[in-house]
Amino acid sequence: MERTRIEARDAALHLLNRLTLGFAAAAVAGVGVFAAISAATIPGSASAGTQASTQTSTTTGSDSSSSTDSSDSGDSGSSNSVQPSSSPVGSATSGSGMVATGASH
């Protein structure tokens, strides 16, 4: 009887360890998967800047900062530098830079 209880407890402890490791592995993989999905949906590249701006302005139209950023990103699409105060989260950069929209972060 006692041995059965000990074995059952050991089995449950092994289960707990396996579940913890499983969740950890899934979480690490999840960061990569969700990062890839988010990159595919809103890549933030200059070439997709118009699409992202349009998507942002239509989906977050109630947010004044995003509206402002959308227009700013369109105007400064060729700039490499982060614009100061007028745009809360910088601006669009050329090349691989991301479009600064209100929904960026």
Partner: protein, 195 residues
């Protein structure tokens, strides 16, 4: 590390953190409900709840660090620790900071529970019911992917899971296995000493 890679990592880590925090909340409620089975004793639920809580802190830290060090955002470390100190989406980002600090307080007090005492620990632990919705609100208010189908699905699933668990807790009867014995003992004591 490229700016966009940091940005994608922030978004991915944010989604994972939301899922993990939801799992932690649900497991905490299942612990209270004493959900257990033949091959799933109560300590498995409790242990998984604790382990996932610590894991949540790790991925939450990843989410915050990648957002702050991203040279594109110019958020600064103050914005990560002082609520409403950010110039960017002050309110929604501030909610995220509040949720982070609540989670931190809950985890730290749980780690020092033996020194803190049960009442104080429990009082802080109840803040979980504030930390989770505030974190969800942060994601909905300032997440880049909030209105993407995949993120909407994740958020909806998280909300549904917690609502279901909370509802279950509110309507469930006591699962204390010794409740009948306690009531019987008290009745026996009352019979012997009706005063």
């Amino acid at each position: 590390m490229s700016d966009t890679l940091l940005w994608y990592t922030t978004r991915g880590a944010g989604a994972v953190t939301e899922i993990l925090l939801t799992c932690v909340v649900v497991l905490g409620i299942l612990t209270v409900l004493r959900v257990q089975g033949a091959s799933w004793p109560a300590f498995v639920t409790t242990g998984l709840h604790r382990n996932l809580a610590l894991m949540t802190v790790v991925f939450l830290a990843l989410h915050i660090v990648t957002a702050v060090v991203d040279p594109f955002t110019n958020l600064g470390w103050a914005a990560a620790f002082i609520p409403f100190a950010s110039y960017y989406r002050t309110f929604w980002l501030g909610l995220g900071v509040i949720s982070f600090e609540l989670v931190l307080a809950i985890v730290v007090t749980s780690l020092v529970r033996s020194w803190l005492g049960h009442r104080a620990w429990r009082a802080v632990h109840w803040l979980t019911y504030a930390a989770w919705p505030v974190g969800i609100a942060h994601g909905l208010g300032t997440g880049t992917d909030t209105w993407s189908a995949w993120m909407l699905g994740i958020s909806a699933a998280c909300v549904a899971a917690v609502v279901f668990a909370v509802t279950w807790r509110l309507v469930a009867t006591s699962r204390d296995p010794l409740e009948a014995a306690r009531l019987g003992f008290r009745a026996a004591v009352d019979r012997r000493d009706p005063r």
